[in-house]
């Protein structure tokens, strides 16, 4: 019984850490947006990186994706999906962006 409550504590701590981390990252994003305004690409880069960091924090602490052997299959799945998603999204943005430029609908 003691082992169980120990495990419970550990698992709960995992959630709380994930929550705390995400909270900090979210606050940072909105704080940056608030202080520097959301006009420049530099600010946007910072915001996107923080967003990416939060994705990883939640994947690890909420969804329990890591390199442990037992969750390797999920990790493989997520990585493969990311690959396909990147091909699809970047390809789309590349193609449609190029078309927009050539049709002069996009301000160069």
């Amino acid at each position: 019984m003691d082992k169980r409550s120990e495990m419970h504590r550990r698992e709960r701590r995992r959630y709380v850490i994930g929550y705390g981390g995400s909270l900090l990252l979210t606050l940072a994003v909105f704080l940056i947006a608030y202080t520097y305004g959301i006009e420049t690409k530099g600010v946007y880069l910072a915001i996107s990186l923080l967003g990416l960091a939060q994705l990883i924090v939640q994947l690890v602490y909420f969804l329990h994706i890591d390199r442990r052997r037992s969750s390797r299959e999920d990790l493989d799945l997520v990585l493969f999906s990311t690959l396909v998603l990147l091909i699809i999204i970047l390809g789309t943005v590349w193609i449609m962006g190029n078309l927009a430029v050539r049709m002069h609908t996009y301000p160069m």
């Binding site: 939060q54 799945l77 699809i88």
Partner: protein, 210 residues
Amino acid sequence: MKRAPSHSYPGLNLGRRHESAHKATEVVTFGFWVFLMSDLVYFGLMFAIYITMIDAQAGGPGPHELFDLKSVFAQTMILLTSSLTVGLAMLALKYNLPRSRIVLWFGVTLVLGLSFLVLEIRDFMAMAEKGGIPQRSGFLSAFYGLVPLHGLHVSVGCLWLIVLGIQLRVFGLTDLLMSRVVRLALFWHFLDLIWIGIITIVYFGGLTYG
């Protein structure tokens, strides 16, 4: 990193007496992961379309006139917190905590989910008042194709939560229901991940490039 117990999903460890249930749950949960990845592609494409249509405002209202970051911030906080509470609800079930705790975390998650939806709908209504309706421009179509799609997922999550709550009351905590709770938690966390994408790309991206 400390060596964690040998289970990969939140709450999957049903204990030693449930070996066969454990195997079945593993299969179902993996299947649900695959479904989520398919769903992820859905969202990914909507993001891609949104990116290509940020400029297609056709003289209509754009992100600067329409987006209300305060409300977005509130929604973000609510959804993030609900992601924590759904996890706690699952832990409460898994470790046989008193019924009151289970009800508490389920209830809090549901309330948070519903308030998220209320805020989101209020946003849409405010946007519509400023002329921000999907029929106005390609940009707005892309916005309304993506953000309400996420909202629809949250609604499904809420419905699922209610149905599961009833089922837990009727049948008690069976292995099957436990595995459904695991999947619901996964689904809920997944929606929070998508929401991070939405604030980063739709809201901040829209404000930067729109």
